[in-house]
């Protein structure tokens, strides 16, 4: 069922083998094998409810926080099993950042929202350094101009799209190695979207990015490789232009051309 692309160039950053996720008795992911390669952008696409977010959350073990959720199989990062009990999930999550599907700013000021991570990890020793981190993160997420005069106002008082960008800014402020983005542009207009896409392009130089999107064009634009999920299975994975122009699987083709359903 799974289609693993073996001859990928570049170093493998993360590998998932036979990953299954259960919510209670319900199996949401049915044995997925997948590699994430360093410094690539990989896009997950697929119909709503097919398990993209679920799989994404496996990659930094955010599923641990859901009581009824159980993960089996192996996921490795740099060769280390991230489900190894001796592994430090905190470090894992610092290394593998995440932007959630629903924007979830802290009920703190905009400034504090961004500064939270750097402070936590001791990334800025002085106030001015922190100010710099905050400003540059907001700038890169394209939010600086809108909020620079109201940094001390609550992040929860922002518009939907602003909150989403705030969350992106917040997660890049700690410079993780891998960034998991769950539909980061869902609430954004084309312009803001293009800013984020530029950001992704820029981040790709140093980081690895996994992005979930339901926007085919976006997937085509930003990603190097694309994985297509369907009902908990990984149907197809390959170089983006390959997948989009010449899908191997019928279902992928149907989905991409919008004929599915």
């Amino acid at each position: 069922m799974t289609a693993i692309e073996t001859n990928s160039s570049g170093k493998v950053k993360m590998t998932a083998r036979d990953v299954r996720v259960f919510y209670g008795d319900n199996e949401a992911i049915h044995g997925v094998d997948l590699d994430v390669i360093e410094n690539e952008v990989i896009a997950f696409i697929g119909p709503s409810g097919c398990g993209k977010s679920t799989f994404l959350r496996c990659l930094n073990r955010m599923n641990d926080t859901i009581d009824i959720c159980r993960v089996t199989g192996s996921i490795k990062m740099d060769g280390r099993d991230i489900y190894d009990p001796s592994l430090d999930v905190v470090q894992l999550r610092a290394q593998v950042g995440m932007v959630f599907q629903k924007p979830n700013p802290f009920p703190k000021s905009i400034y504090e929202n961004i500064a939270y991570g750097p402070r936590l990890h001791g990334l800025a020793s002085r106030k001015s350094e922190l100010d710099d981190v905050v400003e540059s993160s907001l700038r890169r997420a394209g939010l600086w101009n809108e909020v620079k005069d109201r940094l001390d106002q609550p992040g929860t008082g922002l518009s939907g799209g602003q909150q989403q960008r705030l969350c992106i800014a917040r997660s890049i402020a700690v410079s993780p190695d891998v960034i998991l983005m769950d539909e980061p542009c869902s609430a954004l207009d084309p312009i803001a979207t293009s800013i984020i896409e530029e950001l992704i392009d820029e981040l790709k130089q140093n980081f690895t990015i996994v992005i979930v999107t339901h926007n085919m064009q976006q997937a085509a634009r930003v990603s190097d490789r694309t994985a297509f999920f369907h009902l908990g299975d990984l149907i197809e994975i390959g170089a983006t232009n390959e997948v989009f122009t010449n899908p191997k699987n019928k279902r992928t083709e149907d989905y991409i051309t919008g004929r599915y359903g």
Partner: protein, 465 residues
């Protein structure tokens, strides 16, 4: 009919009104197809039910409050004047005898003839009053039911009426708290003023010794005339603050950590058992704590102090504070636990996703978000600590000394209030009246503290979403 059966009747009417209103609203809806009904059938039903009951209930209450007075004065007017004069008795006493007779209660053997007559008259009045009331209630309830029934139209905002009624009930409930406060202040002001006629306010508020003698005003033969002692508030106040502060120092960290552990770390089963068990601490009668402090904790602390070279009295502010702190743990732990549990998961996820540890998440995200509620819990605990008596009586040594040393014996305002109010003092003497002054002062002080707390909370409040 007795009030009880009247109430049952009203409830029955309410049920009937409810049904009628529902049926009628459905009919109206079926007729007026072009216009949508404003409210749901059960709203109309409830409205009719309420109209049937509420006015009638008010009448019932008024009648019950007023009718005894009316009947009494009617009976009193009938009493033979010469009999009254002959008895030379208090009119009140006679009326009570008559009503006892009328109620067939108590064995009043030597009842006079005219008394019996008056009692019979009273009985008659009572029964006719009851009849009248029943009629009136039935009429008013019927009218309420009928007119509200008639009023059912699509435009009628029945739900609004009901919600307004409910809101009125809510408002009344919150007024109770205000009325209580007013009552408390009123019940203390008069006696406080009386107290200040004995003791100048300055001596009371700024006095540094508390040593009222046993009440001696007006003792004729006793040799102790004249000395009423000193009524300095400060030692008591400092004692109160000291003990409450120690209690909070014990309870806040313990309670909060318990709450955090139960809400964030503990397995569900453990939490479900540990929480009610810890809540028992709030329900153990305070006298038990008092003796626990006196017999167990006090000597233990004294020994402990001795072993590290500190002199701690067996009965001290520390003993009382520690034990009181134990008692108020559940106030903080259980309430905070509920509030922490309410904080949305998305916030925790956001923090964990950034690589925060669980404790960092709790400290920096969850607790700030839960702060307003937690402060409420802490204030409640603090209030309890300030208002508590029995533990302090036994454990703090009941010795009103102006000291900031927690190892010394102290006394507190509440203890003194209880002691002075329930002791053997002359109740018209300053020794006893001072209780009211103390109560009022404490009231004002805690009020100010609460204002400060409110301001602080407002400043740090974080509203999520």
């Amino acid at each position: 009919m007795s009030n009880f059966s009247l109430i049952v009747l009203l409830l029955a009417l309410m049920a009937i009104g409810y049904q009628l209103g529902m049926v009628r609203s459905r009919k109206v809806a079926a007729v007026n197809l072009q216009q949508k009904m404003h409210s749901r059938p059960h709203h109309y039903g409830m409205m009719v039910g309420l109209w049937a009951v509420i006015p009638a209930f008010f009448i019932l209450v008024l009648w019950t409050l007023l009718s005894p007075g009316v009947i009494n004065s009617m009976v009193a007017a009938q009493l033979p004047a010469e009999a009254l004069a002959a008895e030379g008795m208090n009119a009140d006493v006679i009326m009570r005898r008559i009503s006892n007779l009328a109620a067939n209660f108590g064995v009043v053997a030597e009842a006079e003839q005219w008394e019996l007559a008056a009692a019979a008259y009273m009985q008659q009045l009572k029964s006719s009053s009851a009849l009248l009331l029943t009629g009136l209630i039935a009429a008013i309830a019927g009218a309420g039911l009928f007119f509200s029934y008639k009023r059912i139209k699509p435009q009628l905002r029945a739900r609004h009426q009901i919600e307004r009624t409910i809101k009125a009930v809510l408002v009344i409930c919150s007024t109770i708290a205000i009325l209580t406060t007013i009552g408390i202040v009123l019940s203390m002001v008069g006696e406080t003023i009386k107290f200040f006629t004995f003791v100048p306010p300055a001596d009371f508020f700024f006095g540094t010794t508390w040593n009222p003698r046993f009440s001696t005003t007006g003792v004729s033969e006793g040799s102790l005339t004249g000395s009423q002692g000193s009524f300095g508030l400060l030692p008591l106040l400092s004692g109160t603050m000291l003990v409450a502060a120690i209690a909070l120092l014990v309870a806040i960290p313990l309670g909060l950590m318990v709450a955090i552990y139960l809400a964030e770390y503990a397995p569900a089963k453990f939490r479900a058992t540990a929480k009610p068990i810890i809540e028992v601490l709030a329900g153990i009668p305070t006298i038990v704590y008092g003796f626990f402090a006196l017999v167990t904790v006090g000597p233990f602390l004294a020994d402990l102090g001795a072993s590290i070279g500190l002199t701690i009295r067996a009965t001290s502010a520390l003993t009382a504070g520690v034990v009181m702190g134990i008692m108020i743990i559940p106030f903080i732990s259980s309430l905070s636990d509920d509030i922490i549990t309410q904080v949305p998961k998305a916030l925790r996820d956001a923090s964990l996703g950034l690589g925060a540890t669980k404790s960092e998440t709790v400290r920096k995200v969850v607790l700030p978000a839960a702060l307003p509620g937690i402060v409420g819990a802490v204030l409640l605990a603090a209030s309890r600590a300030i208002g508590e008596t029995m533990i302090v009586v036994l454990a703090a040594g009941n010795s009103p000394a102006l000291t900031a040393n927690p190892f010394e014996a102290v006394s507190t305002v509440t203890v003194t209030i209880v002691n002075q109010l329930t002791g053997d003092n002359d109740f018209a003497s300053p020794q006893s009246l001072v209780a009211f002054a103390l109560g009022l002062t404490l009231f004002v002080i805690t009020l100010l503290l609460n204002v400060v707390a409110l301001v602080i909370v407002r400043k740090y409040r974080e509203q999520y979403e």
